[in-house]
Symmetry: C2
Subunit: 363 residues, 2 copies
């Protein structure tokens, strides 16, 4: 086995989830991630933990949800009962075919998600991490050889996370002290948000591996203006392109996409919260130096921001602020490397991908 797989498992079990003796650890992974599962199980044995192994099988999921009647989805009480007894959840992605669910009706996906919502809420109370094992399917989507994709993934994952956190803390301080955010990119994005009173999280690779972003939740009635997401994203097995959203009073009042606009519409129609923003994130992991059609990596990339339609992030929203609740949480990216800036309370904190606290910044 590639020694980097063992190193990956070590980071997951030790840094991300701090597994201790007798912890109940649920590992959920696709078959293509078998090597990482073996390495994780070895490490979990060394820790004296109690692992369970769930198999995320996209072909089976597709077959099941297509055969179900939309109204028949029910919460899986067995999975909910197990989740209540679980201490740590390790999700491993590693697609064989990212388009596997591309022929599932979005209404079906939404019904399945709603039924699973109580399990998700329970999971968010635990220690958890989402990571990725490098697979040929993901490499293909990124346009890379499998070997080059492995180098990319392990480069992004095996970082000095303390140093990364110290670097990011400089931006956290700015956002925690700030209120008005203004995002400008070319002539296609000009959006104002309010983050007053919200908390900013310094992602040091615990909940997501790779980590390397700073994020908060905007006040849900604050978004004003237009944003064009110039990087595609894969959602429900489909590639959404050139999503353009217009906000008034925090709500999407106009939208467009050059591909799969119907999917975008179905996301927005899920519930009230799906038409408002739940997250503003700023990517700061410089080891991620290219887009890969894989949000776990893309959203951490330096010189990018992402906004999520839908559910806000609990850690970011104090009790005296409004939490934007939704069954959706759909991240979308803007490349900020050129002709772009982020302003906080009128001060430019990033221009063309370079932060005010970095060398080469031109305010």
């Amino acid at each position: 086995m590639d020694e980097r797989v063992r190193r990956h498992a070590e980071i997951i079990v030790d840094h991300c989830t701090d597994v201790r003796a007798e912890d109940h650890v649920l590992v959920v992974a696709p078959a293509a991630a078998s090597d990482l599962v073996v390495a994780l199980y070895e490490r979990l044995g060394e820790r004296g933990a109690r692992p369970s192994l769930g198999w995320s099988n996209a072909r089976a999921h597709r077959a099941y949800v297509r055969a179900m009647a939309v109204g028949d989805f029910r919460t899986n009480d067995a999975e909910l009962a197990a989740m209540r007894e679980t201490d740590v959840i390790i999700f491993v992605s590693g697609p064989t075919n990212v388009a596997e669910t591309s022929d599932v009706d979005p209404a079906t996906t939404a019904a399945a998600s709603r039924a699973a919502q109580p399990i998700l809420e329970e999971r968010l109370e635990k220690r958890w991490v989402i990571t990725a094992h490098p697979t040929p399917g993901a490499a293909q989507k990124a346009g890379l050889s499998t070997a080059a994709w492995e180098d990319f993934v392990y480069g992004a994952v095996d970082r000095d996370w303390a140093a990364q956190a110290a670097f990011q803390a400089q931006l956290v301080d700015v956002l925690d002290a700030g209120a008005k955010v203004h995002l400008v990119s070319g002539d296609t994005t000009d959006l104002r948000l309010d983050i007053d009173g919200m908390r900013t999280v310094n992602d040091d690779g615990r909940l997501n591996l790779p980590g390397g972003e700073v994020y908060t939740s905007p006040n849900p009635d604050s978004a004003e203006g237009v944003v064009t997401f110039d990087q595609p994203l894969v959602h429900s097995g489909r590639e959404l392109r050139d999503v353009r959203l217009t906000f008034e009073g925090g709500e999407v009042v106009d939208y467009a996409a050059s591909q799969h606009e119907d999917l975008l519409a179905s996301i927005l129609e899920t519930d009230e919260g799906a038409r408002r923003l739940g997250e503003l994130g700023i990517g700061m992991n410089r080891a991620i130096d290219r887009f890969s059609y894989n949000m776990l990596f893309d959203e951490k990339m330096g010189d990018t921001i992402h906004l999520a339609l839908g559910n806000a992030i609990a850690e970011c929203v104090p009790d005296d602020r409004t939490f934007n609740a939704s069954a959706q949480h759909v991240d979308m990216l803007v490349d900020m490397s050129r002709d772009s800036r982020i302003e906080v309370d009128g001060e430019v904190v990033q221009r063309d991908g370079t932060f005010a606290f970095e060398d080469g910044f031109e305010g």
Copy 2:
């Protein structure tokens, strides 16, 4: 997908487990059985069930148990909680390498089994089935091409189970009315058992698929004599050969094996019940016409009997009889096709593989 895979899924969901709307169904399968899992999920969607998918990963299991200290195994309370909410369990075997756990210390395997015992007991209260997906690994072990192994598996699985049950009922009647069983094969097996008051089960392919045997539990203090299991069996990843057991007062007082005798010793030392018999089974599925080193098939083969060391079968033991309890249940086979006979209360019911109620029987 091979249409026989869909047919297999249909038999599992309809005949074996009678899945109904909203049932919680746990499917546990190895990666090599992905096609059957997809077919099962499709069928479970048609039934409106709520499936969960566990991944049985022998490499991960091996890595985990080898890394654990023997004293540290604990019951997985998350799996136990899930099992309590589960209605149906579908276990699919389909090895990639049957020797995967051949370098795990039997004491470690026993410790892991003891920790899992409460989950097993909970599972036995539910509707469940154990079946097999044809894999190259299992085909190799059987000495067949994968295509020939597929033909063999589907031939054994896709039977007229009502007709099979009617055929087997003739033997059930004999055993239910009988008390003293005498098993003779060549000059290596001469064993007497008492089944007085025990119930006999007619296996029509519900709990095991393929099914096709008739089984009961002997009174645990009744075995007297010698039995030589002339067919090898794979246990804990190791191939046990030529196991010979001598019984007195129901208990093993002498044992030998030509290969892995240490494993046999560790099985016998597990607990009190592991030194006594928990099952007498008689194979009657004529579609299984060759040994395959795979107990799920071998024990159903016509012209064979099997005896299990260890745990008795709940359905077979009425409240007024002694139940032989053990963490073990290890089936071992005797080929009865030549120079052999089964007697019940002094009457020959099978000679050289032919039953008294079949054509060609020579009492």
